[in-house]
């Protein structure tokens, strides 16, 4: 039996016993995500850039020709195209975030089992969640960044710095969603629930959160329902910055709501993955 004193001697670590910092934890997985991305970026590039472009052409340009209303009805936008583009980019941030934090999370747990392999190394559960969320952020930032660049020649942005801030806003929108879907994905047994998330969550938000028409069109009651959705805060913030018509109070509320969602969602994401991987 181990008596007290030798046990104390042997419990002194031989080497480094420091836990990894959050930055180290993510940094050590950069090569993993980069290697995977190098393999998949072509197909993901097509799907993340082509479909938004189709939306812009169909809804913004072609349908927009029939929409002739005053800028006051379009929340300050000078054309329907200028109105719809910020909304579409904010919605794109949400979609990208959702795709990057549903199937990939379940794959890490059930299919590739990459989380289990990573857990055998000095990495901790928190590091696994952080790295996957950081990768989702990279995807949101690049997808939305390219979207803004492609839209610039269409003359839909009022200033040069507005879209720059709006780009940061879309990253915030993306992560406010990514953390919550990550938490959900860490809890579900199979991919069936993702269909519900996309059909009953993503698509209604996409259609009714002010991307395609001002939410005042919904009537007073439904407009307030729309104001309670996270995507509306994202659309509102992105559009105000793009058309250079910022109401400071609304912007502050938008940022506060999205930031709160992000922080609570992150906490839930880490806790959910920890619970799932506990043995």
């Amino acid at each position: 039996m181990a008596s007290t004193s030798p046990a104390e001697v042997t419990s002194a670590p031989f080497r480094d016993d420091r836990a990894l910092t959050a930055w180290q934890g993510v940094g050590r997985q950069l090569d993993y995500h980069w290697t995977v991305y190098k393999r998949t970026w072509k197909s993901s590039a097509v799907s993340s850039f082509l479909s938004p472009l189709l939306y812009v052409v169909a809804m913004g340009v072609l349908l927009g020709r029939f929409v002739h209303v005053s800028p006051a009805r379009l929340e300050g936008a000078t054309s329907y195209l200028a109105f719809i583009v910020p909304g579409l980019i904010a919605a794109q941030a949400m979609q990208t975030a959702l795709f990057e934090t549903t199937y990939p999370v379940l794959a890490g747990i059930k299919w590739h089992k990459s989380f289990w392999a990573q857990l055998a190394t000095p990495l901790a559960t928190r590091d696994l969640a952080n790295a996957m969320l950081a990768f989702a952020m990279f995807r949101v930032a690049t997808t939305c960044g390219v979207y803004f660049l492609v839209m610039a020649p269409f003359g839909v942005f009022a200033t040069w710095w507005g879209p720059l801030l709006a780009w940061l806003a879309t990253v915030l929108v993306g992560m406010a969603f990514a953390t919550w879907t990550f938490a959900l994905s860490a809890r579900v047994e199979g991919p069936d629930s993702f269909g519900l998330v996309f059909r009953l969550g993503m698509i209604p938000l996409f259609l009714f959160s002010g991307s395609f028409f001002p939410i005042s069109n919904l009537g007073p009651v439904l407009a307030w329902v729309a104001r309670c959705t996270p995507l509306w805060h994202g659309v509102s913030l992105t559009r105000m910055l793009c058309v250079d018509d910022v109401d400071p109070t609304t912007a502050a509320v938008n940022v506060a709501v999205l930031t709160c969602l992000l922080v609570v969602g992150w906490w839930l994401a880490v806790a959910s993955l920890r619970r799932r991987l506990a043995t």
Binding site: Q29, A120, T121, L123, T279
Partner: protein
Amino acid sequence: MPSDSAAATSDPMISARGLRKSFTSREGAIVEAVKGIDIDVRRGEAFGFLGPNGAGKSSTMRMIAAVSPVTGGELRILGMDPAEHGPAIRSRLGVCPQEDTLDNELNVFDNLYIYGRYFGIAKREVRRRADELLDFVQLGEKRDAKVESLSGGMKRRLTIARSLINQPDILLLDEPTTGLDPQARHILWDRLFRLKQEGVTLVITTHYMDEAEQLCDRLVVMDRGVVAAEGSPSELISRYSTREVAELRFPVGDHEATAEKVADLGDRVEVLPDRLLVYAADGEHVLEQVHARGLRPVATLARRSTLEDVFLRLTGRTLVD
């Protein structure tokens, strides 16, 4: 504080006292997988956990791997408490899990490379080690192949190569050859022998007696969450079995009745569904006596005692499912 090498040599690499693990099953019942075991694994030895499925081997391994929290008792790995120093312990362990966790979409080399990076090993050094390890596990030619295209034996060797990327002090192997064909098993055993010669401490779980006899210097037989016996394979055999065993096969259904007629020929008789085992110092002599009594078995075999006989003696059950 780094301890000097002499102290490090005498300290056990792994030490468990009254180690317990219980968890709640999906149905809500509390399952006691490990019910208080004492273990010491010494530097440089090959230590085995032998037992049937559900004996608590894998639960013990996961606690040793510092990924599964200890429910009760004391566990020290490399002198450290896994609850406090999980990352530090894991940085010095190699883990070869029962189920492959290789990334099927990446190639063989990238699987090693990205895994090495998790340990914070410099890029150039990881590349050097990865190529070296691929040669060691005879997968050099498959360097750029997709993992998907590898056979089961190759995948297992790749997993072992991956578990060595951080030059671990202890290598944990959970049922390393389950599901492999005989040739693949022998290649794997050969590599594990070499690692042992290089001074790597091996901890192996298995439900194959021959594997335990081949690889382990010392082992514990686990059954239903407790240690049923501990020692070297030969010690266990001499302690719990006779030198030889005579196996007698009679038509199905006759074994119970026949057992009484041969009971006096050995120290002990075991009745299995398909055969009788007579434990004695001289197996051939038992077979002669059986024939002399006019009994006509369908088939007979005289052999040395193995760990399976030890297990049968200790638990009254065979190991193979």
